[in-house]
């Protein structure tokens, strides 16, 4: 993969892109993002942090499912393993957070390959349930009190297993604005890399596997090798999200392995639109902010009288997901962008 742009070509590309509606919208959003810490309080910054982390998570899932056609129901594996490795190495081994993040992702990918390689070598629906199975088992494993005791005896002073998980993980920086900007940069780089991969020749190979795997083989492509590669890329970025999530929550616990988190990734990617990285951004945005609104509504006694707990976010989202898959299978990104563009044109009097 060589980036064959001459710098002047790139400048022209950038200039043309900014001229488009999408380009302007993206730049506006980016500026808004960067300025946010100046204006908002820590609660809002916190929500945006979660949003950015989940965007990376959703995009990683979308990369695998939308571009290569492989559906995983166990992305929580990456979230959890990376989370635990990150927490452990920062807290007990005093690694710098950057190293911990990368180490966490790498180890998460290795674990993912345990089920990934057997499942992807075969034709059939094995990846989805296989990854789900592995995440469930990791969940049970890390909950076990007996393992917690074993570990503490073997490595005193440290915790790995057990319901409490690992806690007291320090943030990236004592200054929340800096943490925020770091997460922002990581998110942008991840999204740019994933988008670029999707548009590259490697992406062409991936898409051929998605569209017609037998046809791809008949064109000489070793589809197993590329499926595994895509799985590793997807897992790596999911791991980055996992490490960041642990830092954000100052800790990790077995709950990170629940199917719930895998479901989060699916909701976000599907709502936004499969096979579009920007769709993951939209999907994560809707998920995090709508989820927060629903949660606040649920706390409001008037609402909870009327709806009695049915404003619970996951409940609502499972319904939304079912409706979207049924009726708007390609997600909301394109329709939303089209509507926005219409409004914009209207405002400018075209």
């Amino acid at each position: 993969m060589k980036i064959n742009y001459e710098f002047s070509d790139f400048k022209i590309y950038l200039r043309d892109w900014i001229r488009t509606f999408r380009g302007k919208l993206t730049v506006l959003c980016l500026i808004g993002f960067v300025l946010l810490p100046l204006t908002a309080d820590s609660y809002i910054i916190g929500i945006f942090n979660t949003f950015m982390i989940f965007t990376v998570f959703a995009a990683s899932w979308d990369f695998l499912a939308g571009f290569v056609g492989q559906v995983s129901f166990g992305h929580a594996i990456f979230l959890g393993i990376a989370g635990y490795v990150t927490a452990f190495t920062i807290r007990y081994l005093n690694f710098p957070w950057g190293l911990s993040l990368i180490l966490g992702s790498v180890i998460a990918v290795l674990f993912g390959l345990i089920i990934g390689v057997p499942a992807l070598r075969l034709k059939g629906p094995y990846l989805a349930l296989g990854t789900l199975a592995m995440s469930l088992i990791l969940y049970q494993l890390f909950l076990m009190g007996s393992l917690a005791i074993l570990w503490e005896n073997a490595f005193p002073g440290t915790i790995l297993f057990g319901t409490d998980g690992i806690g007291q993980v320090p943030p990236i920086s004592p200054n929340p604005s800096i943490s925020y900007l770091v997460i922002f940069l990581i998110m942008c780089s991840s999204l740019i890399i994933l988008t670029h991969l999707g548009k590259s020749k490697l992406g062409t190979i991936f898409k051929s596997i998605r569209d017609d795997e037998t046809g791809a083989k008949a064109s000489g492509i070793n589809t197993t090798k590329y499926k595994i590669l895509a799985f590793m890329i997807s897992g790596f970025f999911a791991g980055i999200a996992g490490g960041l999530y642990t830092i954000r929550l100052s800790g990790v616990n077995p709950g990170n392995y629940q199917p719930l988190y895998s479901f989060y990734a699916i909701i976000m990617a599907s709502v936004g639109g499969l096979a579009t990285i920007s769709g993951s951004v939209l999907g994560a945005f809707i998920f995090v902010f709508l989820g927060e609104i629903l949660r606040l509504l649920g706390d409001n006694p008037n609402i909870s009288d009327m709806f009695g707990g049915f404003t619970e976010p996951i409940f609502i989202f499972s319904v939304i997901l079912i409706l979207i898959i049924r009726f708007a299978e390609h997600g909301l990104l394109k329709p939303v962008l089209e509507r926005l563009q219409e409004v914009w044109d209207l405002l400018l009097g075209r």
């Binding site: 051929s208 569209d211 017609d212 037998t214 083989k217 008949a218 000489g220």
Partner: protein, 244 residues
């Protein structure tokens, strides 16, 4: 390529029964037989999409029986499909790109640039003006050209064409025939199947006939056409043969 005692049984049905034949480099051979004779199954066996129950297949001196499809392709044995396959959501250019990105295809394509090389191929099959379009809007004849283009991307030594004429209008069939002829004159060994004989018989200097999975004849078209067993096989099926 050499086929020896090839047999493929599905549950209760012997689709290919003890077939043996050879094809030499540079030849231009047809495979005929009525519908259901087992022609596509043979192609599936040769190209690694199905594994034979017994028998061997050798290509270029190596045993490729049961090898994975993509490995066989990378040795230079390419096939096209009867029901046209394409990557529906990509442009024609990208469709060809995929083949050019295979290890075998890349060896040649990378010297020219992948996109450039694919464009040349598209031009050689007459589809360059539709390079940026997706396959969904193409008429059937163009899809067949695309298939051949995709095969070209992997630099075929032996090309298996499965029913390349089916569903085509006369003009389209002529275009495909010209394309295949020029491929052969460029040095590609071509092995073509068909069940309507008119196009095939005029095209190839050698024909192998099969019926119900079994080998029945091998030779120049005129000879095979007058072979008693072949006649029976076809007339028994309703006289498609009469068209020749």
């Amino acid at each position: 390529m050499e086929i020896k005692n090839l047999t493929k049984k599905f549950a209760g049905l012997t689709a290919v029964n003890d077939m043996s034949f050879e094809i030499h480099r540079g030849e231009f051979v047809g495979l005929i037989g009525p519908n259901g004779a087992g022609k596509t199954t043979i192609f599936n066996l040769i190209s690694g999409i199905e594994k034979p129950t017994s028998g061997t297949i050798r290509f270029d001196g190596r045993d490729i029986t049961g090898m994975a499809t993509h490995k066989i392709v990378n040795l230079g044995l390419i096939r096209t499909f009867q029901l046209v396959r394409s990557f529906k959501f990509m442009t024609l250019l990208d469709n060809i790109n995929v083949s050019c990105l295979s290890p075998r295809g890349k060896r040649i394509a990378k010297d020219y640039g992948i996109d450039e090389y694919s464009s040349t191929i598209l031009a050689s099959v007459g589809l360059i003006d539709k390079a940026r379009l997706p396959p969904v809007i193409l008429p059937h004849g163009d899809l067949r050209k695309l298939q051949i283009g995709k095969a070209l991307g992997t630099n075929p030594q032996l090309l298996l064409l499965d029913e390349p004429f089916s569903g085509l209008s006369h003009e389209e069939a002529v275009a495909i025939t010209d394309l295949i002829k020029s491929l052969h004159s460029d040095g590609v060994t071509v092995f073509v199947t068909g069940h309507v004989l008119r196009e095939l018989m005029g095209l190839v200097p050698r024909v192998i006939a099969m019926h119900q999975g079994k080998f029945i004849a091998d030779g120049p078209p005129k000879e095979v056409a007058n072979n008693k067993i072949v006649l029976e096989a076809y007339l028994g099926r309703g006289g498609e043969f009469a068209r020749t």
